[in-house]
């Protein structure tokens, strides 16, 4: 599948933004984070900026972005529409959290409810994003039980590493947040390795035989309908990544998982400005790695239509 930069940035940025929003919402609901204007402003501001930036970027690949409002209408059948509805709906509790917890410095019951609702909305939106891909039967690498948990764990770990960075700005990291961020990053790494192992062993259900209705023997494409690449080949027949897939997987693992774990451990072991600097670098390195991971998610996915072209 063609890796459109707008969609890669969109899924990575909103994943991290919703992860951070969920972490802040749950912290507020549990009373683990007392109201603090600057912490709340920067934390919630960062989460909502990532979400809004991602959502705006997602309109970049639309042919007619001025009609994007129509995408809220078909939530009964379409995961893309559900994603749109859920993302907008999540702004309501997130806005209440911003007003009550950040601006007014409240910590009452309604703040707890707004925090829980923000976290629930964030998780639901990431689920809807994942289901857009997981529900596509023509792409076996996406239409698997790995896609939904994969999106959730990557969203959670990037949100937690961001939360740790924000906390480091305000009197140092909480050991519990560091621990949860480390565990989530390690779990995400293990899950990504398992996903790649699964994808490498996929035996396609659809074959050139069943695609053409020619039973038995082999079906070999000897002539295309056109001499140049058409829309289908440009959009669905992307092959560049497979050439460097092994190296790019190493790059993604190094940046998204190994380096942040190392940086968080070093930050915990050191103190003062060094610890803060390491905690701030960790999410930047990680998001770069997650962009590579997301690029591979698209570029390594094979659409069955390529069978018609013998690819």
């Amino acid at each position: 599948m063609h890796p459109a930069y707008s969609v890669i940035f969109f899924t990575t940025a909103t994943g991290a933004g919703y992860g951070l929003l969920a972490a802040l919402g749950l912290s507020a609901a549990a009373g683990a984070l007392p109201p603090d204007f600057w912490l709340g402003l920067i934390g919630l501001g960062l989460a909502l900026s990532l979400i809004c930036g991602g959502l705006l970027s997602s309109t970049g690949h639309l042919g007619r972005p001025e009609r994007a409002w129509r995408a809220f209408s078909q939530w009964r059948s379409s995961w893309l529409s559900r994603e749109g509805v859920l993302s907008v709906a999540t702004f309501v509790p997130a806005g209440l959290l911003g007003v009550g917890w950040v601006l007014l410095g409240q910590a009452g019951a309604w703040i707890r409810i707004a925090g829980l609702a923000s976290a629930a909305g964030a998780v639901a939106t990431v689920c809807a994003t994942a289901m857009i891909y997981a529900s596509l039967k023509p792409v076996p690498q996406w239409n698997s039980r790995y896609t939904l948990p994969g999106y959730l764990v990557l969203s959670a770990l990037s949100g937690l590493v961001l939360l740790n960075a924000v906390l480091s700005l305000f009197g140092g990291s909480h050991p519990s947040v560091v621990l949860v961020a480390l565990v989530a990053t390690a779990a995400g790494w293990a899950f990504k390795l398992a996903t790649w192992r699964h994808n490498d062993r996929i035996v396609p259900v659809v074959t050139a035989n069943s695609a053409t209705g020619l039973a038995g023997g082999t079906v070999r494409s000897i002539e295309w309908p056109h001499t140049e690449e058409n829309y289908l080949l440009k959009e669905m027949g992307f092959r560049v990544a497979r050439k460097h897939a092994a190296r790019l997987r190493l790059v993604a693992q190094g940046l998204a998982f190994a380096a942040p774990i190392l940086l968080l451990l070093l930050a915990a072991a050191s103190g003062g400005a060094v610890s803060m600097a390491l905690s701030l670098i960790a999410p930047l390195v990680q998001l770069a790695g997650l962009l590579v991971e997301r690029w591979l998610f698209f570029a390594e996915a094979r659409h069955v239509v390529t069978l018609y072209y013998g690819r």
Partner: protein, 244 residues
């Protein structure tokens, strides 16, 4: 609405005979000619006379080599929208631009509602949908809705443009939901198949596999050709003289 009707009154579609298709591309050009002025017009061409030729087509003819124990043969394979009973291209559409008609089962795109997100083309395993970069919307085969119900055309012309154009009658149009229709009889007689049944999109269109080979090739009992270097007789003498 992008929810698919539980059942359609009719199931209009095509039956394509892979035995008689000669790969002449007449259906391809006829489709383009009609539809670039039809319901989904225009079918934009990008750089039609330069490098990087690209453009929107609803119908593409591939050529394959099918090798089995019985031998190898060339098969021409026209590919277009199959107007599925379970069209994921419709259910994934976030705007309601894609829809399946309850009256005849035809899958269409309302160009005025399409936002060009391309998700429907990802959801289609058959490559039936092509994005028009010039207009910014998705386009697809309409089964020539603007021909088959067109009172301004003579009745015999109220078939899709591809069917009207086929010089070998490899393309047939009709109601595949009606067991008594000519197309249903053809599918039953020839063992017509659905493409990619594993994915359960339940396509309406059917493909008729090439007929089995026969060993009834004519026996060659013709006499040998005239000998170009005759021996004996007048011609033999002339041949010898001129060959010196």
């Amino acid at each position: 609405m992008t929810c698919v009707p539980a059942a359609t009154d009719r199931k209009l579609g095509l039956v394509i005979d892979l035995d008689t298709c000669v790969g002449c591309q007449a259906c391809v050009t006829s489709c383009k000619e009609w539809n670039t002025g039809g319901q989904m017009a225009p079918l934009t061409d990008i750089h039609p006379y330069g490098g990087d030729v690209d453009g929107v087509w609803f119908n593409r003819v591939h050529t394959y080599e099918h090798s089995t124990a019985a031998g190898t043969r060339t098969v021409n394979f026209p590919r277009s929208c199959l107007h599925c009973a379970e069209p994921a291209c419709v259910t994934v559409c976030p705007t309601g631009a894609s829809y399946k008609r309850k009256s005849d089962g035809i899958v269409l795109v309302d160009e005025d509602k399409c936002i060009g997100c391309k998700l429907c083309s990802w959801a289609c395993p058959y490559g039936a949908r092509e994005f028009d970069v010039a207009v910014g919307v998705m386009k697809k085969c309409t089964l020539c809705v603007d021909r088959i119900y067109n009172d301004n055309l003579p009745e015999e012309d109220r078939v899709p443009a591809c069917v009207a154009a086929c010089p070998t009658s490899a393309r047939h149009f009709g109601d595949l939901g009606d067991p008594a229709s000519a197309v249903s009889a053809l599918v039953a007689e020839r063992g017509g198949v659905a493409l990619m049944p594993e994915l359960d999109y339940q396509p309406t269109n059917r493909y008729l596999p090439p007929r089995a080979r026969t060993d009834r090739a004519p026996k060659m009992n013709a006499s040998p050709l005239e000998d170009a270097s005759p021996h004996g007789g007048f011609l033999g003498w002339v041949d010898r003289m001129l060959s010196r």
